[in-house]
C-alpha cells in the first residue's frame, strides 16, 4: 500500500471566482499610471471613476492622491472580479470604497452593482488594501451562507 502523500494534486477551479459560497477578487494598479491619468484627464477621470467622497479623501492628502486613488481603483476592479461584473454594464462609481470608523475600508455597492451583489447571496465581505513603491493592490473576499 502506498502511504506517501501524492506529489501532485490538481484541483478544479471555477472561472467565476466562486468556491462553495466564497468569492474572491484581486487587482494591482500602477500608482504612476493613475498619476498620469490625473494629469491627462483631470476631473474627467475622477468624475467618471470615483465618488465625491473617494475624491475628497484622496485630495485630503495631496502627496498621496494618486496612491489613494490607485488603491481605490484596484478595490473596484477586485469587486468586479469577485462578483463577475465585467460584462454587467456597471459604472466604476457604483462600487465605492468607504472608510470605516476603525480606519479600515469596505466596499459599498450601488445601483446595478448592488442588485448583482444581492443576487449573489453574499452577506459578508472583507476588503484589504495595500501599497508599496509604485503599486497599490486590493483583495476582496465575499461570503454567502451555504
Amino acid at each position: 500500500m502506498n502511504t506517501h502523500a501524492p506529489r501532485h494534486v490538481s484541483l478544479p477551479t471555477r472561472p467565476d471566482m466562486t468556491v462553495a459560497g466564497l468569492r474572491v477578487g484581486i487587482d494591482i494598479v500602477q500608482i504612476s499610471a493613475i498619476a498620469d491619468s490625473l494629469a491627462e484627464f483631470g476631473n474627467h477621470f475622477t468624475r467618471r471613476i470615483f465618488s465625491a467622497d473617494e475624491v475628497a479623501y484622496a485630495n485630503a492628502a495631496p502627496a498621496q492622491t494618486a496612491q489613494r486613488l490607485a488603491a481605490r481603483f484596484a478595490a473596484k476592479e477586485a469587486g468586479f472580479k469577485a462578483f463577475g461584473l465585467s460584462e454587467a454594464g456597471i459604472s466604476w462609481r457604483d462600487i465605492e470604497v468607504q472608510k470605516c470608523a476603525d480606519g479600515s475600508c469596505t466596499l459599498a455597492f450601488h445601483g446595478r452593482a448592488a442588485e448583482a451583489v444581492q443576487r449573489s447571496g453574499c452577506t459578508e465581505i472583507s476588503l484589504s488594501l495595500s501599497h508599496d513603491g509604485d503599486y497599490a493592490t486590493a483583495m476582496l473576499a465575499a461570503l454567502a451562507p451555504r
Binding site: 487587482d27 491627462e40 484627464f41 481603483f73 476592479e77 446595478r112
Partner: protein
C-alpha cells in the same frame, strides 16, 4: 446619400497613445483582442476617457463592459452607436 463615418483611424491613434500595448497598433487586426495585446483595465479607462473627449460622447453605464473595449471593431461599433443617438 448618407455616408458612413470612419472612426477607426482616430480610435487607432487613441489606442497608440493610451492603451499601453506591447504591439504596433497599426498592425493590429480590427478584431484582435486588446487585452491579450497587453491593455490593462486601468489603460482601458484612459482609452474610454480619450474616446469621450475625441468624439464628444459619454459611454452610458450599459456599455461599460470589458468586451466593449476588447477590440478595435468593438470600440468602433460602440462609438458609432453612441454617436448616432
Amino acid at each position: 446619400m448618407e455616408t458612413m463615418v470612419d472612426f477607426e483611424p482616430q480610435i487607432r491613434n487613441i489606442l497608440t497613445k493610451h492603451a499601453r500595448l506591447g504591439v504596433d497598433v497599426s498592425a493590429l487586426a480590427a478584431d484582435a483582442d486588446l487585452y491579450q495585446a497587453g491593455m490593462t483595465s486601468q489603460a482601458s479607462v484612459n482609452v474610454m476617457l480619450a474616446l469621450e473627449g475625441e468624439f464628444d460622447i459619454e459611454f452610458p453605464d450599459e456599455l461599460l463592459k470589458r468586451s466593449v473595449f476588447g477590440s478595435i471593431s468593438a470600440i468602433r461599433d460602440a462609438v458609432a452607436g453612441i454617436a448616432s443617438t
